[in-house]
């Protein structure tokens, strides 16, 4: 099966048409949002803490950034595709975006960010797009610069789609060479559908960190996995209309109101309801049917990518 990374360089692949399609596809939005929420959770920011500044690496049209905004923080995103960023501007995301190749590092002063997330982007660094590209060098520039722009004690959670175990090795070893501690976390390692790779990185220098737990590894967590799979199934079943049980759509106004109610009951401070609550942040575009087959292929890639890597469950690094 071909991967986007094999088709064209990112700034060419995510052209205007593809960027609009990507950002208006409800399944893509749902999947990216879920992974972003998981990445945010792995940052382990104390509950109730707001007003941090986070970096979104390969921010695209801002789907991942929206999760940061919803958690009450500010963000700055870098992406190499101007078309993706134009969509972010059209969607009026609250974060700030800039065109930048992350393989060139980041144009920020040291210690700028309280944390970083990256969703489905860094596997692109493993490919040489230009004749002068050297993936190993680019990964080192990337991680070295990331380490610099993070405040001491900050974490980075990078979800990615490795093509094989060599890529995992190349990415993790580059990160560790640049001063990070941490390791790879694999959610639902036994499921081809739900399996997700997160590189969990700490800037702490004294080894005082502990890796978070992966989901769907033990039996008692299988329930959760079933739930996840169920959600994937529900998504797939959307095509057979009418059979689906009534389920309040995530991020719908109703869903948000319910969530706020729950939080109010728990005595949490909740933003007041306004006519904007749950308003759609996009999609503002509906792609035409041209290239529909390509789109299907890409969704398949995101959903069903069968990774050749089977063994790596949870590798702990850095605790020398």
């Amino acid at each position: 099966m071909s991967r986007p990374e094999h088709i064209a360089p990112p700034e060419i692949f995510y052209d205007e048409v593809e960027s609009k399609k990507y950002s208006s596809n409800s399944r893509i939005i749902e999947i990216q949002t879920k992974m972003s929420e998981r990445a945010y959770e792995l940052l382990a920011i104390p509950e109730g803490r707001e007003g941090l500044l986070l970096l979104d690496i390969g921010c695209g049209s801002g789907i991942s950034g929206d999760v940061i905004t919803d958690a009450g923080h500010h963000w700055i995103g870098c992406d190499i595709s101007p078309s993706m960023l134009d969509v972010a501007i059209d969607r009026e995301v609250e974060g700030d975006v800039m065109v930048r190749d992350i393989g060139q590092g980041f144009p920020f002063r040291p210690g700028t960010f309280d944390g970083a997330i990256s969703i489905s982007a860094i596997q692109w660094l493993c490919n040489a797009e230009k004749s002068h590209h050297n993936p190993r060098k680019r990964l080192l520039v990337f991680f070295q610069s990331l380490y610099q722009v993070l405040a001491r004690g900050a974490k980075a959670i990078l979800q990615f789609y490795p093509e094989n175990s060599a890529q995992i090795e190349m990415i993790t070893s580059s990160a560790l060479r640049c001063g990070f501690t941490g390791g790879l976390l694999v959610d639902f390692p036994n499921s081809t559908k739900a399996k997700k790779y997160f590189l969990v990185l700490f800037t702490g220098n004294n080894g005082l960190y502990s890796m978070p737990k992966a989901m769907g590894v033990n039996d008692d967590e299988m329930v959760e996995e079933d739930e996840r799979q169920e959600q994937v199934k529900i998504v797939n079943r959307n095509r057979e209309k009418g059979r689906k049980k009534d389920r309040v759509g995530v991020k719908s106004r109703e869903w948000i109101m319910q969530k706020k109610d729950r939080q109010r009951k728990q005595g949490k401070e909740v933003r007041p309801d306004t006519k904007f609550t749950g308003r759609s942040r996009g999609p503002k575009f509906v792609g035409k049917c041209a290239g529909f087959l390509l789109l299907r292929r890409i969704i398949k890639l995101h959903l069903k990518l069968k990774l050749k890597v089977e063994f790596i469950k949870c590798v702990y690094y850095g605790a020398k």
Partner: protein, 127 residues
Amino acid sequence: MKILTYNMMSCSKKQCVGKGHPLKLDCTESQTLTQDFQLEFIKNMIPRLDWDGIRAVAPMFNINLGDNIEGQLENEEFLKNLFKLVVNTKIIKGKLTCPSCNREYFIENGIPNMLLREDEIYQDIKE
């Protein structure tokens, strides 16, 4: 691009490490945003702000922060003005110039283009 982002940025060419900021800002089009004042955020940002950069751009947007910034960090009116400058002021069109190498970075549609050319890339990393 918000002034906050501008303030955190630095030219990342190899020869500019440590002296690539504050970038010189030329703004031909800006916009005022309406995000609610968030005390927690501004307090969190204060230790990281580059005050030379703040002083250089505040007058461009008619925001008066007074002369003695350090003495005012608990003054609410000052903090609100600062928030207005860094969060609610957005540059739509303009140019950033590195104070060290004079490289120009252009801002269009609110998005700065920070892509470097091949010959500008920090390449001397040991493998």
